[in-house]
Symmetry: C2
Subunit: 408 residues, 2 copies
C-alpha cells in the first residue's frame, strides 16, 4: 500500500478550505502501525451531547472495529465522544486478537480523554489478517490528546489514507432557521470499492444539533444515492464505515430541516465522487444514468451492471464508444429490459435506439467525446419511470499494477 | 478481434485426435464476414433423425440467431438438420436487420442442403451492433456443401474462433450396451465469459441415439456444473449457444444411460475448462472449491464471488497468496458465512481457520505454491454440506491490452 505516489489525474485541484467545526478537535500522529515516515493514526474528540450516526459494511466477514461500532450506535449521547482511526492494518480476520485490540484501544482512549468507553468509536484500514499492533497506538494517545486542535481536519484526512493518492475533504455551510451551520467531511478509499459500501472510511462533522435517531435515519437514507451508488472494482471491504457526528455547537436544531438534509447530501455526494476520482488506476470518472426502468431497484441493477462490467470499463479506458458492451451489460444484469425499446447516449450523443444504432449516430463524434476525463453514459429502458445514477471509473493497467503486486 | 496471436500459456499441447462421428459432416470457408485471410464460416450437416438439444444465454438483449434457435428447439427431429456459424459479427443488437439476416441464411441453407428451415440452426459471434453481411455467407453455401467431410471437425473449430488463441476440441468414446459410441465437441470463447453462460459457442456431436426430450434435460442439467461454473470476467454475452446433437448412427440408444451421461459431462467439462484456459490475458487456471455451505446454491454464490473478484484475480496474477482477499470475497457475496468457522486452503496448504491465519501457515510455502499455473483454492464454510466448484483465471495486463484497444 501507499506505493503509488502519483496523484490521480482526476483529483480536485486542492483540498478545500474547511473552517473549524464547533465541538470537534483533531490530532494525528506517526505511530508506525505499518508505514514509516507518515502519519497513520487520527483522533477526533467530540463535545458532550454530540449525536453520532453510522452506516457500515454488510460484509459477513466484517472487521472487529466495525462490529464494535455497530454495537455502540444508538446509545446514550450525553457524554463526550471520540473516534480513533488507524491506517496500515485493518484488524480484520484476526481471530480473537481483533476484539482484544479494539478493547485495548477503546479503554485507553476512554481513560486518556475521560469519555465513556461506549462513546469511543474506532476504525482500522489496511492489510487483512495480521494482528493490529495496538500497543503502538496506545503509546501515542497522550501525544494525540495534547495536540488536539480545531483546525487539524486536513491532517486528519491525510492520516487515514492507504492507497489513496490525495486527501479527501468537503465542506458546506447552510442556514438553518437563520443560523449558519457547518458540515465538513473527510474520506479515504480508492480500491475494494463497491456497495455496500466501499473500502471506505468517511467521517462527517456538523455543528448543528440533530436528534440522534433522526440523524441515523437521514444518514441511512442518503447513503443509497451516494456511497452505495459508487463502484471502483465491485469488491467490498470488510471495514467500510461512515459516521456522521452532530455536535450542536452552533446552537440550532436541524432535525427535520430540508436545507440541512440537502447540504449533508451534497457533502456525502462530494466525498463519494472523490473516492471514485481516486479509483485505483482511474483516468476517467463516469456517471451512469439509468432511466425508464420498471422501478428504481431495477434501474440500480442495470446501472451497477454497467458500472461494474470489466468490458465496459476497459472500453472506456480505451476511449472506445463501444456501446455494444453497454447493451451486453444491460442484458446480463438480470433486471427487465427490452432490447428494442432501450436508448443509449454518450453525453448528449444519441447512440442507439429502437434496438439498433441511431441513424444520426456519428462514430467520430462519439470517439471525440470519449476522450474527455468526465463522461456520462445514459440509458433509457423505455419501460416505466424507475431511475438510478451510479458512478464508476475506467479499468486500466494502473489497476493491475496496484493490485497484482505481491501483497499490495 | 483476432489481434492477439500469441497462444495462451495454458493451452493444451495440441488439438485432440477426433475420429469421424457417424452422421455428421463439416465444411469451412473464408467468407470475409469481417476478417481477411482466415476461415470464418462453419457448416455442419446432421443425418436425418438427429436429436438436437440446446442451452442459450439468458441475456435480455440476446441476439437474433439465439432467439431463432430457441424457437426451433424441440421440434420434429425426423429430417436432416444443419448448423451454420459465422465469426466476426455477432448479429446482435442489429434491430430488424438481425432477424432478416437469420431468415436469409436459414432459407438459403435449407434450400442448398434440402433440409427443412426449422432444422437449420445458426449462430454468429463477433462485434455487436453492425448488420451481418449475410450475402457474403449465402454466396459461399454451395462451396460449403460441396466440401462437407466427416473428418473436418478441427477445421470447424478453427472457423468459429474470435479472440481465441487456440482451437478447442474434446473427444471421448464410451460403451453403451456393449457398443462403442463417440462424443466429440468443439468450442470457442475467451472473453465476455460468465454464467449464464459465456461468450461461448459449443457444439457437441455423438453417434449415439438419444430421445430428444431426454437429451435436452441431460444437457440442461450438465450445463450447471460445467459451462455455468466458469468465468473469465463476469461479463455475459448476448450470443452464447450450446448445442448437442445425437445422430444415432452408432445404432445404439443411450437414453438414460449413466455411462453416456458421464462421458458427455466429461466432454462438456473439458471444453469449459479450455475456454477458461484461453481466458483473455490468462496465465493461471484456478479451481475454486467451496464446501460446507448452508446449501449448494450458497456455495455457488460464494464460489462465483471469489472467481469474479478483481482483487482476488489480480492477487493470483501477482502470485500473492493474499487470503485476506478471499475472506473479503466471501464476506461480500451475500450468502451465509461465519467468519470464525471458515477455513481456506491454497492447494493442500491450510492457510486460515477459526477466524484467523493457521498456526502452521508458512507464507513461503504458499508463495511457492502460487507460482504454479494451475491452482486450487478451497474454502470450507463449516456450516452444512453445500458444495460448488467454479473455475476462473487471473486478471492481468493482457486482459487490459486485449479489451482497452479501440473496438477490439
Amino acid at each position: 500500500m501507499a506505493k503509488i505516489t502519483k496523484v490521480s489525474p482526476l483529483a480536485p485541484a486542492a483540498f478545500p478550505d474547511i473552517p473549524p467545526i464547533g465541538g470537534v478537535e483533531f490530532a494525528v500522529v506517526q505511530a508506525g502501525v505499518r508505514y514509516a515516515g507518515r502519519t497513520d493514526v487520527m483522533l477526533a474528540r467530540l463535545a458532550p451531547g454530540t449525536a453520532v450516526a453510522g452506516v457500515f459494511t454488510r460484509s459477513a466477514t466484517r472487521s472487529a472495529p466495525v462490529r464494535d461500532c455497530q454495537a455502540k450506535l444508538g446509545g446514550d449521547a450525553t457524554g463526550a465522544a471520540a473516534i480513533l482511526v488507524n491506517a496500515g492494518n485493518s484488524n480484520a480476520f484476526t481471530g480473537h486478537f481483533g476484539q482484544t485490540s479494539v478493547a485495548e484501544i477503546t479503554a485507553a482512549v476512554a481513560e486518556c480523554l475521560e469519555v465513556a468507553p461506549e462513546r469511543v468509536f474506532t476504525a482500522s484500514t489496511g492489510v487483512i489478517g495480521e494482528p493490529l499492533p495496538h500497543d503502538r497506538i496506545v503509546a501515542r494517545l497522550a501525544d494525540l490528546r495534547d495536540t488536539l486542535a480545531s483546525d487539524a481536519i486536513r491532517a486528519a484526512a491525510g492520516a487515514i489514507m492507504t492507497t489513496d493518492t490525495f486527501a479527501k475533504g468537503a465542506f458546506v455551510s447552510v442556514d438553518v432557521d437563520g443560523t449558519p451551520v457547518r458540515i465538513a467531511g473527510i474520506a479515504k478509499g480508492s480500491g475494494m470499492i463497491a456497495p455496500d459500501m466501499a473500502t471506505m472510511l468517511v467521517y462527517i462533522f456538523t455543528d448543528a444539533r440533530v436528534e440522534q435517531t433522526a440523524l441515523q435515519t437521514l444518514v441511512s437514507n442518503l447513503t443509497g444515492p451516494t456511497f452505495n451508488a459508487i463502484t471502483v472494482d465491485s469488491d467490498t471491504s470488510t471495514s467500510d464505515s461512515l459516521m456522521v457526528c452532530a455536535t450542536g455547537a452552533a446552537g440550532v436544531d436541524a432535525t427535520g430541516d430540508r436545507g440541512f438534509a440537502d447540504a449533508l447530501h451534497h457533502v456525502m455526494h462530494d466525498l463519494a465522487l472523490q473516492v471514485v476520482r481516486d479509483g485505483e488506476g482511474a483516468t476517467k470518472l463516469v456517471e451512469i444514468r439509468v432511466t425508464g426502468a420498471r422501478n428504481d431497484s431495477d434501474a440500480r441493477v442495470h446501472a451497477m451492471a454497467i458500472a461494474n462490467s470489466p468490458l465496459v470499463k476497459t472500453a472506456i479506458a480505451g476511449e472506445d464508444p463501444n456501446w455494444g458492451r453497454i447493451v451486453m451489460a444491460i442484458g446480463k444484469s438480470g433486471a427487465e429490459a427490452d432490447r428494442d425499446l432501450l436508448s443509449i447516449r454518450f453525453g448528449t450523443i444519441l447512440v442507439a435506439e429502437n434496438g439498433w444504432v441511431s441513424p444520426d449516430y456519428s462514430e467520430a463524434d462519439a470517439a471525440a467525446y470519449m476522450k474527455g476525463d468526465t463522461l456520462t453514459i445514459s440509458v433509457d429502458l423505455g419501460l416505466e419511470t424507475g431511475a438510478f445514477t451510479a458512478w464508476t471509473c475506467d479499468l486500466t493497467h494502473g489497476y493491475i499494477d496496484i493490485n497484482a503486486d505481491y501483497r499490495s
